[in-house]
Amino acid sequence: MPQIQIPSPLRQYSGKQASINVPAKTVGEALAGLVSQHPDLKRHLYNDEGKLRTFVNVYVNDEDMRYLQKEATELKDGDTISIVPSIAGGGTI
């Protein structure tokens, strides 16, 4: 089952979990499964049109899914999906 890594800024919306296993054949299915388990994550990952937000990057293992088949990228057992949001700094956000 693919594992989704949740970055710390978003863990408050994932029940504090750092990684979540979601049964899925594609990246799109995995992310859909993730937000159905944790609905609070939805508005942080998708915009009002249902598209992934541009400041949230999704990697399959170490490759940006934008350079694979995006949401249609097929997943193998043991693949890791990483959500990598942009972060600005420590003093003020």
Binding site: S8, Q12, F55, D62, S82, G90, G91, I93
Partner: protein, 390 residues
Amino acid sequence: MATISDVKPAEALLSNDEILRYSRHLIMPEVGMEGQQKLKAAKVLCIGAGGLGSPLALYLTAAGVGTLGIVDFDVVDYTNLQRQIIHTTADVGRKKLDSAADKLTAINPYLNLRTFDTKLTSANALELFREFDIVADGTDNFPTRYLVNDACVLTGKPNVYGSIFRFEGQASVFATEDGPCYRCLYPEPPPPGLVPSCAEGGVLGILPGLVGVIQATETIKLILGQGDPLVGRLLLVDALGMKFRELKLRKNPDCPVCGTHRTITELIDYDQFCGIRGQEEPAGNDIPSISVEDLKKKLDAKADVFILDVREPHEYQICHLNGYLIPVGDLPKRVSELDSSREIVAHCKMGGRSAKAVNFLRRAGFTKVYNLTGGITAWAERIDPKMPKY
């Protein structure tokens, strides 16, 4: 491999004192006399003298970088000292540039330190960057990140990037000749309101140390022309799990600033680009509010006021007004715990989150709910000086 074009190491001769100082570099073949002279000839601009800028500036200075520029307009305060190790308790109230200059010149009197007591803006960035070989980005906000990136691309200077949040950091080297830039990674910033505010913010004090030292290492490698720089790679640092991971970064052919069809050819208004407002500003004047003085009067008069604290539980532990705690993020699902017939005063740390809470409750039909202007910080400043501020 990115290299620095206008360094003239042959002109940067080392004195006998400098040779002794740098002996542990000079006996390494990867540095040697030639490398040390490259360091001496190099001009590095550090944006910010804060959490990332502290280790960056300290190590670059110690390593023998000849010219170090620092841009900062801030003053040292107590909350900086947990991570900004170039500043000491005695420096509180001083300009960060003055404080940093003392430490850096004490470490290395051969340093040519250039301080720029200004905010980096679209008006001054290009001119400033042209005087340096490498820019190290130690800023803490999105507008300046995009400004630094675009100015680096436009002037052809490598952008040694580091960023931190809570327990996590990112590092990379952007804007080299063939490598990706920050916009290739993130074309747009998050809209305001979707990034964690100071409520969920904070940073582990040593994390900027870890990430800043990675930035310093990459800067030195670029100058020396040694090793594999973090070009086309994003290093993720997870201090809690103590895991370092690496993701591939590609140059985006559609990137507006460094792609094949560029639409950004000069610096823009980055505050506007990021939709920026003040830090946790109270949201407008149309929110019904109450001052800390008026709240005090009501409490002293034993009026029926329900205090709703919308901060996080760990903030409540620092100080509180005996309020009923519902973190602002939990309010929608816990609204039934509140009695709409009572007068409710909502507060947070500064007034930003509680303004959102008041807005939410008003829309939910609460008519007697008010925002405590200035939050518990204003209470600590004007009503109860014994209360800690954070």
